[in-house]
Symmetry: C2
Subunit: 305 residues, 2 copies
């Protein structure tokens, strides 16, 4: 059996995914924990890490590298944002040590970039996936690439010559969840109606006037006779279609550039359909693999400091 | 004391406002009831009306006219939608009697019009305000007018020669409530920060890419140092600004046409600021007065049938 050399964690708002990796970055063991930072009390992260995460993976004494919201003020130790433009080297140089821990434990900083309305935008966790993906796909380290990471807070990232130049966040996943649970569009049904999803994509238009387009999800049921069970799929298509149509333009793109989808396979498939509809080329990459590769690469570059 | 001749009710999703009116339409008495149709069990509306509303206003035996969601399948008796184009005469001709009630009780139908994405759009209650407003402002019965009714489900209505031609609904108020309570943008603070409201208006752009612009409300706090208490006002400005910029265009307008704001005074003031910022002329009219005038006019025209 291969020997574990590193404990790598993607520790986000809602859960914690942990892997032990061998000296070549191969997975030795994997566990998920219901320890998202939103569920932790202040100061609790370190204690749960020592008491649950390390023992479960037989990783006591191993060096550990963590990315995600664990580096926010809700997490363990605040890892100040690294500013765009940022590549894997800049990020590795900014790893933040966790004080007063027996083992070598480092937190990957989030990234801050220029915002779409003149302020700033921020990410925590997605930067590690992006760096791992770049590391695994060196041909993407030359020239300009548009990378979309679907999710609760979807990220559209502009990469130039291996560095993250700027990005925009869309609350698409959170809108879907919150509207489906707490609004007039709420429903118990699953989002699996392909025709309704396509109908939603068509209703998204060019991503304008979302508050009005959202009401069409209600009107098509109460005024148009569509089945209420089709609402979640329609809503999903509407929100994803709106994002795909409008967000690239906020980054100064035409919206016709090829898109690399990086994330959860099921979500990437939905985004792929939205892109297909607009005639935009795309390729999909696994987000979890990229996160592991990113944590391992950052450890390798920042581990001796 | 003037003698009550009519019980007029605006019976919506969240509450019921009732007035007794004299023979000239003047208010004799007014009461509000926590009896929104969303809180009623099937079949409960009539019983509560008889047991609580009529007695509280000493209106037993008076004719009654009701508008709003009370005419939906959640309400008392379903009043099928009247189709656009519709004026006060068409609406009066479609009043729906409540079966098996001792007194004369009529429900105003909602209105259905062509939807912004090719389907349909619907309203229940706003049509009565609109008709009352037209009745009270006969100069608005000639030519074309754009009327905006802010609210949970804001309505933008296109009126030509006294008839409602088409309209669009924006879920702006509901988005504000749901995001402020259940999302990463949630806050206990009141929406009363004028500077943050203006900042939100500016961040709304042309009403595109709302899911991304919404995240700026988060990033300006966690990445930009803005106080979290200013989030509700920023969110309000962002949502209203987005609606005002984009929804008129969905009705085939340029967005530069003068707007008549019809509704709650405080909300109308916020919309007025959004319109000011875009250089659009506007005038504000009281929604409650319009509702009363509409119910009274419809009773007068439909009462003898």
């Amino acid at each position: 059996m291969r020997k574990a050399a590193l404990l790598a964690c993607d520790w986000g708002t809602t859960n914690l995914r942990a892997w032990t990796l061998d000296e070549a970055g191969g997975i030795v063991a994997h566990r998920e924990f219901d320890l998202g930072v939103s569920k932790l009390k202040p100061g609790e992260a370190g204690e749960r890490f020592n008491r649950e995460v390390q023992p479960a993976l037989e990783a006591a004494g191993l060096p550990a590298i963590l990315c995600g919201m664990v580096g926010s003020n809700l997490g363990w130790t605040v890892a100040p944002y690294a500013d765009c433009p940022v590549g894997v080297g800049e990020l590795a140089a900014c790893l933040v040590p966790v004080e007063a821990h027996a083992a070598w434990v480092r937190i990957v900083p989030g990234v801050r970039g220029p915002g779409i309305t003149g302020g700033v935008d921020v990410m925590r966790g997605e930067e590690t996936q992006l760096m791992g993906w770049l590391h695994a796909n060196p041909e993407r380290c030359r020239g300009r690439h548009v990378v979309c990471h679907p999710g609760t807070h979807a990220k559209w990232m502009l990469v130039e010559d291996g560095k993250l130049i700027r990005f925009a966040t869309a609350m698409t996943g959170e809108l879907f969840a919150v509207l489906g649970k707490h609004s007039v569009l709420k429903s118990e049904a699953a989002a699996e109606d392909e025709a309704a999803f396509e109908e939603g994509l068509a209703a998204a238009g060019e991503g304008d006037a979302l508050a009005a387009r959202l009401f069409t999800a209600r009107a098509r049921v109460v005024g148009g006779g569509a089945p209420a069970e089709s609402t979640p799929s329609y809503l999903s298509g509407l929100l994803i279609g709106s994002e795909v149509a409008a967000v690239p333009k906020l980054l100064g793109l035409s919206g016709e550039e090829p898109v690399d989808l990086l994330g959860d396979e099921r979500l990437c498939r939905l985004y792929a359909r939205a892109l297909d509809r607009r005639g935009v080329a795309h390729e999909t990459f696994d987000g979890e693999q990229a996160a592991i590769a990113g944590l391992f690469a950052l450890y390798g570059m920042g581990g001796s400091r």
